[in-house]
Structures are given as structure tokens and as C-alpha cells.
């Protein structure tokens, strides 16, 4: 008996599932595990090919096509659908004249799209398809490292910079003109980010990108080639996160500008080609709409938690305990947590604090350690350890605190709510949408406000219990994982029907 036809989904990720932990990976794992009737092909973009799996994808993840961006010399190292001899022939056939004739015009179009930050998203999509076609028969490394490509890049970037500087005489315009180092670095990055155009993905019923990022490229090209419907789920807002990250490039203004243009272009192309954009909270839609996403495509689907797993439990009476579950990262504003702890200790000397989460930024961790020492909290605040059992960690606390300055729709808040914990959180991202009046919100970076509210909750067990019970009820009503999954399945079915 033949198997009834199933929905097949190309699910693309970037720096997350199944190789890293975190919110997006938790979401992916829940989605795949809870939809056994759907077959998935996973395309994870990863930093290097040697990252250990954090999740073992279930059986309905039929195929995983890893795309490492670094840690390899060229895409030939991860391509498994071509033989050694085939690679050689492809290299041999990629002659200078072919590059000049067939690739350089495409490349110039690509640069034009990038320099205009993807204003013409449809044009970007067409270029991506043409590039995929080209690299089916030609060698990526030889092409991208060719003289013709370098000169086209140099010429195009010089022309663009000259155009900008002659039009605007703003301070720092001199930095607009690229140095050779800027150009070299920029083109080397482009080489890495575009490696995904070498990947051949199978045809599926629909595609689902987990970020408006480079991982959306196979979904975009599948849409253009075959009309395959595309869903885009944004957890954070990729373009915003990259703006934050690249702001560190003080000395490389040109490179920052180039990369942000590239990222904006790719984000806009994702928004343009997605049939449905499903951010995890309404907060994200501000950026999406501002970047050109059509409002009628947007359907917010909140993250959900397993309310049968994250259950309330009585707290052992052993002093006052305040915890945060957050990786050590500037965006989590651990410094404000430490300042809050110092203030709370002035009135509640028995209170103890802990921050559970991986060290994402070692330099920042060291800075936090210094601050902890300076505030006299070395024996009061525990940090830099990962929880082995997150549920009992929540159970061990009186108050859960979130001090982030940037969030989307954090699982840590939902999980704590599900465990019926009293929560004090900064009013950032979609936190307000999750917590509503079932916890306490304070402005970000406001250590005094946080301390005041934490103190109030520590001193008032009845209030803690009331808020916790209301939070739990909100989870059961609105943020259960099965509700979330059902909404995605509905989306899948709708789009599959439309495509059929």
C-alpha cells in the first residue's frame, strides 16, 4: 500500500537549530516533533561544519543539508551531490571568459541591488536564481576569486561611494571612500554569505525560513522557480540584530555600510517573497513594516510552552531567592541585574541571586565579574553557570527577573509564567504582550525600579502567589505549545491548498 502524500517542508535556519540552543531552536524542535505528519528537509546555515548537534532531529526530519559558512575553504567541501571528478570538470570549465561573459553581468546586478539596500526586492530574487543557475555548472571558488569579479567589485564600490560623497558632504564623508582593506574584507564576506547559492534543495510542498536572513535564500529561489509557498517566521528581527552587531565596526565604516546594505537587501527580499510573515510577537511587526513588509502578509503566532512540563511546584522555604535565566550577553543587561541585586540587598540582606545561562560574551562576563566584586556581591550573586534542570531552577526561585534591553518573545518569561512564578521584567520587545498585567514591567536599564518591584514581591508572598497564578492561567489559555503548533499546521495546510 502506498503511503498517502504528506506535506513536505523545507525548513531553513541560521546559526540555530539543530546546532545551538536558544529560543529559535526550542521553537524548531517543538515544531518538528509535534508535527510528525509533516516531512522536513532541514537546511541549517552554520558557523563551521564541526559544531556538535544540540538537538537530534526526529525521524520526520528526513534530510539535513548543512551549509557551513566558515571553517571551509570553498563550498566544494560540503557539497555531497557532486563527485570529485565532477568538481574538477566544473573547475576546468569555469574559464575567465565564461566568468567575464556570464557571471560578471549578474554580479554587477547583485552589487547594484546591494548598494541600494534591496529597494528592488524582486530584482534581488531574480539575481539569486540566476546565480544558482550559474553555479550549477560552474565553480564557485574559481568564479568568486577571479580577477574579473574583483575588478567589477572594486569599480562598482568606488563608483557608488563617489556618488554618495559627491551628493552629501556630511561629517565623516571621507570614510565613505573604501580602503583596499574595506573592499577586501567586504568581498570576502560576500563570498561567505553567498555560499548558500551552491546548495541544491529538493522540491517541497512549501518552505519555511526561520529568519529574514541568508537562510531565506533557498526559500526565495524555490518560490521564484516553482511557486513554492514561503513562510517566514521571525523570532528576533534579523536586520535590527545585525545593525546592533555591526555598529561595533567603528573603524570599518565602509565595510559596515556594505554589510548592512547586503543584510537589509536580503531581509527585504525575504519579506517580499514570503507569502506569510509570522513574527512571534506584535512588537516585531514595527520593524518589519518599516522595512517594507506588507501588513496583510503578517500573522503573529506567539511562541508557546509545554504547560504540562513547566508546572507549578511549591517552593522550599530557604531564604529569598531571585533568579534570571539569561545568557551572559550585553543585550541581557546583566549589569542592571547586579545593580538591582545590590539595591535589594540593602533592605533584604537574606536575599540571594543567580543568573543561569551560557557565557556568550567572555569580555562582557569579565566586566560583570568586576562589577559584582565592586558591588560586594561575590557571595550573593551566582553567575556564569548553566542550569542542568531549568524547571527545578524556576521552582527554586521566589521571583524571576528579566533585565534585557532587547527581546522578542522570550521563552524564559513564558516558562516562568507556566511555573506560576512572579516575574519582574523590563518592558522591551514582546515581553509586555506575554506578561500583560500578570507580572511587573519596568523600563529597561532602570535598576532602581527593578529593585523596588523585586523587593515588593519578596516581601509579599500573597502578591507573588496571585501574580503567579494569573501568569499560569494566561499560559494555559493563550501560550500553549499545542496552540502554537496548530496555528502553524493551519498555515501549512492553507498554503499547500492554495499552491495546489
Amino acid at each position: 500500500m502506498s503511503e498517502p502524500s504528506r506535506l513536505s517542508v523545507l525548513l531553513t535556519t541560521e546559526g540555530t537549530y539543530p546546532h545551538s540552543s536558544g529560543g529559535v531552536s526550542t521553537w524548531c524542535d517543538a515544531l518538528i516533533r509535534n508535527t510528525p505528519e509533516v516531512y522536513y528537509t532541514l537546511v541549517p546555515l552554520m558557523m563551521n561544519p564541526h559544531i556538535e548537534l544540540k538537538y537530534d532531529p526526529p525521524h520526520n526530519a528526513r534530510r539535513v543539508i548543512n551549509v557551513p559558512l566558515w571553517g571551509i575553504e570553498e563550498p566544494a567541501e560540503f557539497l555531497t551531490d557532486i563527485t570529485f571528478a565532477g568538481l574538477h570538470i566544473r573547475k576546468r570549465d569555469t574559464t575567465d571568459s565564461i566568468i567575464e561573459r556570464e557571471f560578471v553581468p549578474l554580479f554587477r546586478d547583485l552589487l547594484d541591488v546591494i548598494n541600494h539596500a534591496g529597494e528592488d526586492a524582486a530584482a534581488f530574487g531574480r539575481v539569486l536564481v540566476a546565480m544558482e543557475n550559474y553555479f550549477q555548472g560552474h565553480d564557485y571558488n574559481k568564479t568568486m576569486k577571479s580577477r574579473a569579479v574583483w575588478f567589477a567589485f572594486r569599480e562598482s564600490m568606488e563608483e557608488h561611494s563617489h556618488h554618495i560623497t559627491s551628493a552629501n558632504r556630511f561629517p565623516g564623508a571621507a570614510y565613505q571612500l573604501p580602503s583596499l582593506f574595506d573592499l577586501t574584507e567586504s568581498l570576502r564576506w560576500l563570498y561567505r554569505f553567498l555560499m548558500i547559492v551552491n546548495v541544491r534543495v529538493p522540491r517541497t510542498t512549501l518552505t519555511h525560513s526561520t529568519a529574514a536572513a541568508f537562510c531565506g535564500i533557498p526559500c526565495i529561489t524555490a518560490k521564484i522557480r516553482n511557486g513554492t509557498p514561503m513562510i517566514l517566521t521571525e523570532h528576533g528581527v534579523y536586520v535590527r540584530e545585525q545593525n546592533l552587531f555591526l555598529s561595533r565596526f567603528h573603524r570599518l565604516f565602509f565595510a559596515k555600510q556594505f554589510l548592512l546594505n547586503l543584510i537589509t537587501a536580503i531581509t527585504r527580499a525575504n519579506y517580499h517573497y514570503a507569502d506569510i510573515i509570522s513574527p512571534v510577537c506584535h512588537f516585531n511587526t514595527r520593524w518589519e513594516v518599516a522595512q517594507g513588509a506588507a501588513r496583510d502578509k503578517i500573522r503573529v503566532i506567539y511562541n508557546g510552552v509545554d504547560a504540562d512540563r513547566f508546572i507549578p511546584a511549591p517552593r522550599e522555604p530557604n531564604g529569598q531567592r531571585v533568579i534570571a535565566t539569561a545568557r551572559i550577553d550585553p543585550l541581557k543587561d546583566i549589569e542592571t541585574f547586579l545593580r538591582m541585586a545590590a539595591l535589594v540587598r540593602q533592605t533584604n540582606p537574606r536575599a540571594r541571586f543567580a543568573i543561569y545561562g551560557a557565557i556568550a560574551d567572555r569580555k562582557y562576563f569579565d566586566k560583570c565579574l568586576s562589577l559584582r566584586h565592586e558591588l560586594g556581591l561575590d557571595d550573593v550573586v551566582e553567575m556564569g553557570v548553566e542550569s542542568q534542570n531549568i524547571i527545578s531552577t524556576y521552582h527554586s526561585a521566589d521571583v524571576i527577573v528579566l533585565t534585557s534591553v532587547s527581546e522578542a518573545f522570550p521563552y524564559s518569561v513564558l516558562e516562568a509564567m507556566s511555573c506560576a512564578k512572579a516575574i519582574v521584567a523590563t518592558d522591551v520587545g514582546g515581553v509586555r504582550e506575554a506578561l500583560e498585567s500578570n507580572g511587573v514591567l519596568v523600563p529597561p536599564t532602570d535598576a532602581e525600579g527593578l529593585a523596588r518591584e523585586v523587593r515588593r514581591l519578596l516581601d509579599d508572598p500573597a502578591l507573588r502567589a496571585t501574580l503567579g497564578a494569573r501568569a499560569r492561567a494566561a499560559i494555559v489559555e493563550k501560550f500553549r505549545v499545542d496552540h502554537t503548533i496548530a496555528k502553524y499546521l493551519d498555515l501549512y495546510s492553507d498554503l499547500a491548498e492554495r499552491a495546489a
Binding site: 563551521n48 561544519p49 564541526h50 559544531i51 556538535e52 548537534l53 548543512n66 566558515w70 571553517g71 575553504e73 566544494a76 567541501e77 568538481l87 576569486k145 577571479s146 580577477r147 574583483w150 575588478f151 572594486r154 564600490m157 568606488e158 563617489h162 552629501n168 556630511f170 561629517p171 565623516g172 570614510y175 571612500l177 580602503s179 583596499l180 582593506f181 574595506d182 573592499l183 577586501t184 568581498l187 570576502r188 536586520v239 540584530e241 545593525n243 546592533l244 555591526l246 555598529s247 565596526f249 567603528h250 573603524r251 565604516f253 559596515k256 555600510q257 548592512l260 537589509t264 514595527r286 543585550l331 534591553v405 532587547s406 523590563t426 522591551v428 523600563p443 529597561p444 536599564t445 532602570d446
Partner: protein, 532 residues
């Protein structure tokens, strides 16, 4: 954009300055908005505190203020570069270069002073010497390509801060190389059984040296990879001391003494390499056991440097192989197809003085070339390319001139060393030094080596820019020239004429490498981009 009241203007100015302090030159409203958000501002704050509709509009105001020059920014300069005394810098790299010829130098010195080296001894009979020479040459040729591959791939991962993977790939390729070296002994045995290049007892001596030295060269590549070449001085000293002790105190035969020394050297070099790799692995992030590169990937990515290494070693030994397999004009009537000629070897060994003296200069040039690239790239605006290209052309000319002067000094020094050796109280040495073959071989080889080092300077600069293809092309032509010229002269005029093959090959290599490098320097911006 909304027109802001004065109070809000001041607030915008203040927060704007904070943002500019964080981002330097802002790219656009998106970058500023993201910063405002992580500074704790929300749309409600934009309305209440800044008088704007939302944060995006607040960002527009800040950008306008920046463009109007009302928000100051301080361009961040490069980190200060630590000034190193140029003489010290030169000495450091000169010594590093010297390390490459260290085994040969120590071998020569200890042979002269105490009669023993790590391989061979001064009193050795020609029979055993031939076997050792064959083992030595075979080990060098077989392992050179692998050694280049080990270093090249290891450094590739190291520079990407993938210490674990660097360790994994280095040890994997080391192990593949060891097995390849062992396996190749099979066909060699068969070949010798059929053609009797050496009698079987000598063949097995050659085999023993081949295996021990192959390990030594491969281990050395690990030591070089982890940047611990200075340890080689200690390792070699200890190992040669062991040989001398075994021979002089225990009275062991030369071959057995050499084997003890080589065993010790192999163990110690492997230990040093492994310790360095383990340290890398501890500092690395990747886990090589997860999805390691396939064998074909390793082959594919290292093929060109492997080929370069192989051809390099073939080039170095072609003349000796031709000389010791030639019969014309030989005064020692070789009983077998491969027979060491001491006069020829002495001429070649003495010519190595030139290599020893110049290797450090080449190493210094290569390092300087590499160290200058990034700072110069940062200084050079793309639209003003010519000064950047000119800077490296000047660099090239200056270092070429320095090398030429050093080459003359090295040749004179080598000649002086020969004169000094003439007074060494060893009749056999004096006899050899008086031989026209030795003198001829010495002068031709010394000049060849000087030209070869000139070529090597260029080849290494090409390799710095990852142009192994250009280097392979040049050295392949040089090898062919070496073989053809050496073969014709050694077979038609005199066996020692093979050294003219070395000269012709060196000239060919120098011409081609020079031509290739000039081409590269003319488009250095492109070649630097492509060198990753």
C-alpha cells in the same frame, strides 16, 4: 519629520551624542533606532521624552543632526603597533630561517668535530654511505609534499581559531603520510629485487634510514606548524649526543648508533608537535570529531601545496640522483646503479653554507612582505591604488638588492670556509678538497643555491598570497630543466655535470618566479583579496 520644541531638541541632541559615541559614523536611521532601543528607549519614550512619533522618527532627527555637523564623532584610529627594533626583528627572523637548515648544519659540525651525525658518520664506508644517502633522499622526497600539506591545512584551521580541527587535520594527515611512506617501501623492495639498485643488505639499511627519517621530517612539520622550531636545536643536540654516546661509549656500530639517535629524535619531535597541537585544541572552539572533513576534501584542498612540496624536494635532489647513478668519468667505479660519490657530496655539502647563510634573509623578506600587507591595505584608498602598488614594488626591489648583496657575502664566506677547511687535520678531507670535481661541484652548486634562494624568496611571497598554482608551475618547469640539463651533461661529459642541471633549474625557477611575482605585484590588490 516633526518639528521639535527646544526642550526636546536638547534631549535629542543628548541621546544623539550617546548614539554617535557608540556607533561612530551612523549608517542610517535603522542603525540609530536599534541603538536607541538597546539604550532602553521605547516608542512611548520617543513620544514623551523626545517629542517624536516613534523611535524611527527620533532616529531621523539624530541622523539630521549628525549630517548637520551638530554631533561630534571621533574617528577611532588603529591600535598602536608595538615598535620592534629593526635589528632585533631581522635577527629574530634570520634565526627562524636558520632553523630550517639546522639539521644540516649540526650534522656537518658534529661530523667534523666528533665524527658522527644524526645520520651517517665521517668514517663510514662508501657502501653504507650509499645506502644511507638513498634512504635520506627517498625519505625527503616522499615526505615533503605531505609535510607541506600538514602545515598548510593545519594553519588554515589555526588562523580560523579552530585549534581542535587543526590538531585533528594535522594528525590525520600525519598518519596518512606515515602509512603512505611505509606502503611505498613495498614497491621499492620489489623494484630493488628486480633491478638490484643496491644489494639486499644495503637495501634494508636504506630502508631503515628511510623510515626513521621520513618520520623525522613529518614530525618536524608538526613542530613547524605549532611554531616550536626553536625546540629543534635541543632535540637535535640531545639526539646527536645519543648517537655519539652509543658509538663512542657503548661501541655500537654506526648504523645502530644512528638508529638510536633517530629514534630519540622521532620521539622528541613528535612529543613537541603533539604538545603544541594539544594546546591548540584546548584553546579551539570546534569539535573535529563532529563531521570532520572527508578524505577527498583533505586531498582536494591540499593537492597543490602537496605537489609543490614534492617538486621542491625532487628539484633539490635531482642532481645527486643523476650524479650517483651516472658512470661517465667516475673515478670510484661504482659496483651498483646507485653509488655515493664522496667528492660530489662534499662539494654539495660545502655549497650548503650559502643556503644556511641566506635562508634567514629569505625568511625575513617573506615575513616583512606578509606583515606589511594589511597595514598598507588599510592606509590605501581603493581609488588611489598606485601608491599601494608602488610601495610593494619598492619593497621588492629593496629586498632583492639586499639578498643579492647577501648572496655575494655568502659566496665569499663559503669560499673562505673551504680555505679554512683545507687546514683541517683530516687527510681524506684535504684530498677531496684538492679534487677538481669537488671544487667544480662546490662553485656551481654554491652559485646555483644563491640563485635558488633568490627564486625561493619570490616563491615564498607567492605562497604567502596562496598562489601555490604559480609556484607549482614555476618549480615544475625548473625540475624538468634540472633533469634534462643534468641528465644530458652527466651522461655525455662527466657525471658531476649534473650540478649544471641544478644551475639551469635554479635559473629557470628564478626567472619564472620573478616573472610571476612581478605580475602579482602589479595587481596586488586583487591577489591579496583572492589569497584566502
Amino acid at each position: 519629520m516633526t518639528v521639535l520644541p527646544v526642550t526636546h531638541n536638547a534631549a535629542i541632541q543628548q541621546i544623539g551624542q550617546t548614539v554617535i559615541h557608540r556607533v561612530g559614523i551612523p549608517k542610517d536611521r535603522w542603525e540609530i533606532t536599534a541603538q536607541l532601543e538597546v539604550l532602553g528607549y521605547r516608542d512611548i519614550d520617543a513620544r514623551e521624552r523626545l517629542g517624536c512619533r516613534d523611535l524611527f522618527e527620533a532616529a531621523d532627527h539624530i541622523l539630521a543632526l549628525f549630517h548637520a555637523g551638530e554631533l561630534g564623532f571621533v574617528p577611532e584610529g588603529e591600535d598602536p603597533v608595538r615598535r620592534i627594533n629593526p635589528v632585533l626583528l631581522f635577527l629574530r627572523h634570520y634565526l627562524a630561517g636558520l632553523m630550517f637548515s639546522l639539521p644540516m648544519v649540526l650534522q656537518g659540525v658534529t661530523m667534523l668535530l666528533w665524527g658522527y651525525g644524526l645520520w651517517g658518520a665521517i668514517d663510514l664506508d662508501v657502501r653504507t654511505g650509499s645506502a644511507i644517502a638513498l634512504g635520506f633522499i627517498a625519505s625527503y622526497i616522499v615526505t615533503s609534499g605531505f609535510a607541506w600539506a600538514v602545515v598548510s591545512r593545519g594553519l588554515f584551521y589555526f588562523y580560523q581559531k579552530e585549534g581542535g580541527l587543526a590538531r585533528w587535520s594535522a594528525l590525520r594527515m600525519w598518519w596518512i603520510s606515515v602509512r603512505a611512506a611505509v606502503v611505498l617501501a613495498g614497491p621499492a623492495l620489489l623494484f630493488n629485487l628486480i633491478y638490484r639498485v643496491l644489494p639486499m643488505d644495503l637495501f634494508f639499511i636504506a630502508l631503515a634510514y628511510y623510515l626513521m627519517l621520513a618520520l623525522f621530517w613529518l614530525n618536524w612539520s608538526l613542530v613547524y606548524l605549532v611554531g616550536k622550531t626553536h625546540w629543534m636545536l635541543a632535540v637535535l643536540s640531545v639526539s646527536i649526543a645519543a648517537v655519539i654516546a652509543a658509538a663512542r661509549i657503548l661501541g655500537w656500530p654506526v648504523v645502530a648508533s644512528n638508529m638510536i639517535g633517530l629514534l630519540l629524535a622521532d620521539t622528541l619531535t613528535f612529543g613537541v608537535g603533539l604538545l603544541g597541537l594539544n594546546k591548540w585544541a584546548r584553546n579551539g572552539s570546534g569539535k573535529p570529531e563532529v563531521n570532520p572533513p572527508r578524505f577527498t576534501v583533505l586531498v582536494y584542498t591540499t593537492a597543490q601545496v602537496f605537489l609543490y612540496g614534492l617538486l621542491y624536494s625532487v628539484f633539490i635532489f635531482t642532481d645527486r640522483i643523476l650524479a650517483w647513478t651516472g658512470m661517465r668519468g667516475r673515478e670510484d667505479f661504482p659496483p651498483y646503479p646507485f653509488w655515493l660519490n664522496a667528492r660530489y657530496e662534499l662539494g654539495m655539502d660545502l655549497a650548503l653554507i650559502v643556503v644556511v647563510l641566506l635562508a634567514g634573509v629569505v625568511e625575513y623578506s617573506t615575513h616583512q612582505f606578509s606583515a606589511r600587507l594589511v597595514p598598507s591595505q588599510k592606509r590605501a584608498k581603493s581609488a588611489a591604488l598606485q601608491p599601494f602598488l608602488d610601495e610593494f614594488r619598492r619593497f621588492y626591489r629593496r629586498h632583492t638588492a639586499v639578498l643579492c648583496i647577501c648572496a655575494v657575502v655568502a659566496l665569499v664566506s663559503a669560499a673562505a670556509a673551504i680555505r679554512a677547511l683545507g687546514h683541517f687535520p683530516d687527510p681524506r678531507l684535504q684530498e677531496s678538497l684538492a679534487s677538481s670535481t669537488t671544487v667544480r661541484v662546490f662553485w656551481v652548486a654554491a652559485i646555483s643555491y644563491a640563485i635558488f634562494l633568490f627564486a625561493l624568496q619570490r616563491v615564498l611571497m607567492l605562497m604567502t598570497l596562496s598562489r601555490a598554482d604559480l609556484a607549482v608551475h614555476a618549480i615544475a618547469t625548473a625540475v624538468l630543466t634540472n633533469i634534462v640539463v643534468g641528465f644530458i651533461i652527466s651522461r655525455s661529459i662527466h657525471y658531476s655535470g649534473s650540478v649544471f642541471g641544478l644551475l639551469a633549474g635554479s635559473i629557470a625557477l628564478a626567472v619564472l618566479a620573478h616573472r610571476n611575482l612581478r605580475r602579482v605585484l602589479g595587481e596586488l590588490d586583487y591577489y591579496y583579496y583572492a589569497a584566502y
